[in-house]
Symmetry: C2
Subunit: 348 residues, 2 copies
DNA sequence: GTTTAGCACTCGACGTAACTGAGTGCTAAC
DNA sequence: GTTAGCACTCAGTTACGTCGAGTGCTAAAC
C-alpha cells in the first residue's frame, strides 16, 4: 500500500508539472522534464499503479494524468517537509509589510501582502473580540432608550454596539458603571470579565443588574452579529486561472465570495492550533466550490488572542511557495500586533 | 431629425422586445408582438431610418436590430414619462421594508430590498458624514499619543477616528473639550462647526488650538479615508443575464465590483439634485464596463444631508419598472431616516 | 405617396465528417 | 526490471453543407 521512493518522485513530478501547466501530464512530458532518466513506458507503468492507488486520474482515456485530492494531501503531508524551511527570508518580507496605526488597516494590509506575494487571494480573519483583553469601555447616549457602548481592546481593536434598554440610566449611573468596569477589569478578556460579573451579581444583587447584563451581552456579540471580520484581497487573481475560465465555474466562485459570512466561519472553525494547515478541495465543501484550497495559520494578537490568516487559491496551488509565505506573514503580523513599538521602529 | 409618432412606437417596441429577450429584434417579430398592424416590410423601412439616425444597430448584416445607448437615452427621457407615476403603490413596498435600529443595517436592508425587487443589484451610498448634524463626540485614550474620537450624528451614524497627537492632553482637558463641543454644537453640521471654530481660534488663541484642529480634521475625514460607505447587494443577480455569459465579460464585471471605491465616488459625484436619474452604458465609463446602467436617486437623511441609492444592471434594464422602484425606496428610506419614530410605529 | 408582397441575397448557427496528435495499454525483446 | 514498438482511443480542430432568420430592393396595390 505504501509508495516506494521512485514512485514518490514520479508523483511529485506529476503534481509539480500539473501545478505549473494545469493540463493533464503525460508520460513523455515527465521524461523530458524530470531528471529521472526513465523511459515513458516505465513511467506509464508507475502512473498506472498510482492511478490504481487513487493518487492520479485520467479525465478521459487518451489524456495524461491529473493529481487527485489524495495526491495533494500526500504531497503536502509527506513530500514537502524539507523544502519548507527554505523560505525567502523574513527580512525581505518585512520590508514589504507596511503596517498602519490602525489595527484593522494593518490586517487588511497583511491580506493584501498575502495576495500580492502568493498571486492567489489573501484572507485575514480578525481575532474574536470577546477573547481579547479589555482596555476600556465608554458610553454614549443615542436616545431615550438607546445606548452606544464602545469597547476598546488592549491591542487596539474597537467595537461599538447599540444597546436597547427598558430603563434609561442617568448620565451619572453610566459614568459610574464605565469607571467601575474600566478600573477593575483592564487587561482581562471579556469571557473572564463576564464570568466574574455573573458570579458577583448572584451574590450581591444591585441596581444595575439588567443593564450590566445587556452591556456584557453586547460585548460578547450576538449570534446574528458575526464575531469578527474577514478581509479578502486579490479575488481577481483567482479568476485568471484556467480552472475558472468557464462561465459556470466563475459564477460559482463569485457566489462563494458573496457568502462572506460562510467563509469566515469556515476559516475560524478550521484552525485552533499553531503552525500552518492546509485544507484541500472538498475539505472546504462549505464554500460551495470543490476546487479551492486554503492554506491557513493563526497569528498571535496579544497573549491570549489569535486570529487566522492565509491564502485561498485553486487546489492546484504552489503549496511549496505558499506555505512558508503564510507562516512568515503570520509570524510577522503577530510580532507587530504583540509588540507594535518594536516592529514600528524597525519599519519606520 | 425628430422622430415622428409612429417611429417612436416602433422604437419603443423594439427596445421593449430587446429588454425582454436580449436577442436582436427582427421586423417580423415586431409585427407579431406589437399592436401596430403594420407589415414587416413597413417596419423594415422605419427601422432602416432609425438605424441611420443612430438609434438602432445590427450586430451583423442578416440579424435583427439592437437598440443603441442613444435609443435607451431617448426611451428614458421621452418615451417613459406617462408610465412612471403608475408605480405599484407605496403601501406594498413599505411592507417589505424592515428597517433596523442600526442605521447602517437599515441602509443595507434598503440595498437588499432594491436588489430583491429589481432583480438587479441594489446599491446604497451612505451620506457624507461631514454634512450631517453633529450630536455628540466622545474621546477614548488609546495610548500615550493616540486618541480615539467617536462622533455620533443626530441621524444615528457613528464614526470613530484615530488621532495622533504630539502632546498628550490630560483626561480632564479631554472631558472639557468634549463637553464644550457637545453643549455648543449639537444639531449643526460638521462643516459649519469647523468654520465657526476656525474663526474663533483666530480671535482668541487658547491652549487647545492644535488638538482641536486635529479633532476637526479627523471628523472631516482624510482624503485617503473614503467619506462614506457603499453597500452593493445582489451582485450575483447580474451574473445570470446573457450579456455576461462569456467569461471575459464576467471577469470585467467582477473587477468592477472589486473596485468599491471607484464605484462609490462615481455614484456620489453623479448626483446632486432631486428625483431619479439614469446613467446609461458608457456614461459610467469609470466602471470599466460599458454595458451597465445605473438608476440613482438621492435619499434624504435629516434636513441637510443626502445619500444616494439605486439599482445597477445591464444597459438592457427594465427602466419602466426600476425607475419608480428607486424613487419609492428613496422616499421610503428618507422618510424613515428623517422621522424614525413614525415609520417605526407604522412598520412595527 | 404610403404600404405591402415577393424575391434574391447574406450570414451566423448548427450539425456532420474527416483529420490530427497527444497519450495510453499491451506485448515482446533487451 | 526496463524499454521499444505498435495498435488503439479520443478530445480538439478544421472543413463543409444546410438551415433559417432577417434584410434590402423592386414592383404592385391601396
Amino acid at each position: 500500500m505504501e509508495i516506494t521512493g521512485r514512485d514518490q518522485d514520479i508523483l511529485r513530478a506529476t503534481i509539480l508539472c500539473y501545478i505549473k501547466t494545469a493540463t493533464p501530464v503525460g508520460s513523455r512530458t515527465l521524461t523530458k522534464i524530470s531528471e529521472l532518466g526513465l523511459s515513458p513506458a516505465t513511467i506509464r507503468n508507475v502512473m498506472a499503479d498510482l492511478e490504481e492507488l487513487g493518487y492520479l486520474e485520467q479525465p478521459h482515456a487518451s489524456a495524461g494524468r491529473v493529481p487527485t485530492e489524495k495526491a495533494y494531501r500526500f504531497y503536502v503531508d509527506h513530500l514537502l517537509g524539507p523544502t519548507l524551511s527554505a523560505g525567502e527570508g523574513d527580512g525581505l518580507l518585512a520590508l514589504r509589510f507596511t503596517p498602519s496605526e490602525d489595527v484593522t488597516d494593518t490586517l487588511q494590509e497583511a491580506s493584501r501582502l498575502l495576495s500580492l506575494l502568493s498571486h492567489y487571494a489573501g484572507v485575514v480573519v480578525t481575532p474574536r473580540f470577546s477573547s481579547q483583553r479589555f482596555k476600556r469601555v465608554e458610553f454614549v447616549r443615542l436616545g431615550e432608550r438607546q445606548l452606544l457602548a464602545i469597547f476598546v481592546s488592549e491591542d487596539g481593536f474597537i467595537q461599538h454596539r447599540r444597546i436597547e434598554m427598558d430603563d434609561a440610566p442617568s448620565a451619572n449611573q453610566l459614568r459610574q458603571i464605565a469607571e467601575e468596569l474600566n478600573s477593575r477589569f483592564r487587561g482581562q478578556d471579556l469571557h473572564a470579565i463576564r464570568a466574574t460579573l455573573v458570579e458577583e451579581m448572584r451574590e450581591h444583587k444591585h441596581r444595575y443588574d439588567q443593564l450590566m447584563q445587556q452591556i456584557l451581552d453586547a460585548a460578547q456579540g450576538s449570534p446574528t452579529q458575526p464575531p469578527g471580520d474577514l478581509y479578502v484581497e486579490g479575488k481577481t487573481n483567482i479568476l485568471d486561472f484556467p480552472e475558472f475560465a468557464e462561465a459556470e465555474k466563475m459564477k460559482a466562485l463569485f457566489k462563494t465570495f458573496e457568502e462572506k459570512y460562510m467563509m469566515m466561519t469556515l476559516i475560524e472553525k478550521s484552525l485552533d492550533g499553531d503552525g500552518v494547515r492546509v485544507f484541500i478541495g472538498s475539505e472546504n465543501a462549505a464554500l460551495g466550490v470543490n476546487n479551492l484550497s486554503l492554506v491557513l495559520a493563526n497569528y498571535r494578537c496579544g497573549e491570549h488572542s489569535y486570529g487566522t490568516l492565509g491564502v485561498l487559491g485553486p487546489t492546484r496551488m504552489e503549496y511549496d511557495r505558499v506555505i512558508p509565505l503564510v507562516d512568515q506573514v503570520a509570524r510577522l503580523l503577530g510580532e507587530f500586533l504583540t509588540h507594535p513599538a518594536r516592529t514600528d521602529r524597525a519599519a519606520g
